[in-house]
Amino acid sequence: MDALLNAIDWAEIGLATWDTLLMLGGSLLFTVLLGLPLGVALFLFDRGQLLAAPRVYALLSLVVNVLRSLPFVILLIVLIPFTLLVAGTSLGVAGAIPPLVVGATPFLARLVEGALRGVDRGIVEAGLAMGASTWQIVWQALLPEARPALWSAVTVTAITLVGYTAMSGVIGGGGLGDLAIRFGYQRFQTEVMVVTVVLLLLLVQLLQMLGDWLVRRCTHR
């Protein structure tokens, strides 16, 4: 057992864990910055909603569906030219973030759209009756009312991103997934595989617990 644990390069694992956290944090930040407004737009442009515009909705919806229907591994490769343009490299942490964001943004946007749909229509009606603008209704009522559902959407997205970061190892993205493939799979070092799996599992657990705590904290029902 000692021999087994000694065979593992813990410095390498520490570095890979740090890379995974960087990829996760960076991609989650940009995914929220893009996915939240996109989700709000999807909600508002839908039929019967505040800015009802069926054509705009159909267009946004199509883009979201196309991006979501591509398997992430394919998206990683297809996006290489775009990644080079945005990040200057397609390798490492920086190179992994653009495809992660493109992959997760439509996913989060759909969850945000659903979260906003879950808000009682009466809230919108009350806002309109008070003379609120669309902007005021979104900022002062819809987003605060949907906050528990939005936190849980961000949690699910973060966990999905953990899975994606592991996949980005395939094209040299770095991080725990990369380590698992290079050592655990290609060099038959099963112990490295086990350690990375345990670390990813821990990360997912922690994210879920943090998410649940945030949801509970802002639920007043």
């Binding site: 005021q136 605060p144 007043h220």
Partner: protein, 343 residues
């Protein structure tokens, strides 16, 4: 109350509204005229689907009519641009059946919301106004609670405080007591009546319960199938309903079935009369006096003595036998009692 001012604060003219449901077009309103005067409590009663909810939403243009005119405080709402309409809506309060409070905000934050929307007030200003409003609706000590911690009646009080925050002259009530138990309903209606008196607030309420109309309204309109079938002062409509729909609502409130009642009295000898008393005279010992002076024997078959808003009324169904019926009738009518011979 105040019918001193003849200028209507709310005017709808020939309002039409049609909805598309799938391929069908359903007419919700078919040419409705409505005039609500400043300071009155106006009730609109109708069954579900009669169009009353649409009618109420025309007044602040939550629903736009397909044709017709909407004027509030002399302003043509249909002619306003977006900003103008938002400003006009800030002068029209509205409360809802399911309260529509923000569950993520405290009571105080909920009441402050319309003030934030309207803008132009400092935080201290808003806090002070919110405190005064909550005190007025009897929730002074609840300001830091969340709506989920309140009872239904308390939630509606928050709704009322919120609706009055910007100092509107008009309050629209959308089935405001339909989700409440009878006791809470009475308390909320009492509060609305007080606000009407104290602030001169014009109130338009829609309901499917005649009891609500009887308690607080000055005038009532009965809506059925997208048209107003009857309207007038509540006492007139309530005591002498003309339209079949109105009669059904009144009977529901009185918990009697008119047809059934006459059947029940089939074996009663002599004539059956319905007497309607109104005002303070309701409490006069009139029947005994009439019986003594005309030699009439009477039996009370059914009756109710109650109030319509602030006015006492009595409505008795009696059987009479012997004596001078014509003289008795003349005597009663001379005292302002309305006499109808049912049989």
């Amino acid at each position: 109350m105040g019918r001193r001012c003849a200028r209507p604060v709310i005017e709808l003219e020939r309002a039409h509204k049609t909805y598309a449901v799938g391929r069908q077009r359903i007419a919700a309103l078919r040419g409705v005229d409505l005039r609500v005067e400043a300071g009155e409590v106006f009730g609109i009663i109708g069954a579900s689907g009669a169009g009353k909810s649409t009618l109420l939403r025309l007044i602040n243009l939550l629903e736009r009519p397909d044709a017709g005119a909407v004027r509030v405080a002399g302003q043509d709402l249909l002619a306003l641009d977006d900003a103008g309409l938002r400003a006009a809506r800030q002068r029209i309060g509205m409360i809802f059946q399911h309260f529509n409070l923000l569950s993520s905000k405290t009571v105080a934050e909920n009441v402050a919301w319309p003030l934030k929307i309207a803008g132009g007030r400092t935080a201290a200003d808003i806090a002070q106004r919110v405190e005064a409003l909550l005190a007025r609706v009897g929730l002074a000590d609840q300001s830091h609670k969340y709506p989920a911690q309140l009872s239904g009646g308390q939630k509606q009080r928050v709704g009322i405080a919120r609706a009055l925050a910007t100092g509107p002259r008009v309050l629209l009530c959308d089935e405001a007591t339909s989700a409440l138990d009878p006791e809470t309903t009475r308390a909320i209606l009492t509060l609305l009546a007080e606000l009407n008196r104290e602030l001169g607030l014009t109130i338009v309420l829609i309901t499917h319960e005649m009891e609500v109309v009887r308690r607080v309204c000055d005038r009532v309109a009965v809506i059925d199938g997208g048209v107003i079938v009857e309207q007038g002062p509540v006492a007139d409509v309530f005591l002498h309903p003309q339209h079949a729909v109105t009669r059904r609502f009144v009977q529901e409130a009185e918990q009697v079935d008119e047809g059934q009642r006459l059947d029940d009295f089939a074996h009663v000898p002599g004539h059956v009369l319905q007497l309607t008393f109104r005002g303070e005279r309701t409490y006069d010992p009139l029947l005994g006096e009439v019986a003594r002076r005309t030699g009439l024997d009477f039996g009370i078959l059914s009756g109710r003595i109650d109030r319509i808003k602030d006015e006492p009324y009595g409505q008795l169904t009696i059987s009479v036998a012997g004596g001078d019926l014509a003289a008795a009738r003349a005597l009663l009518e001379a005292r302002g009692v309305r006499v109808e011979v049912l049989r």
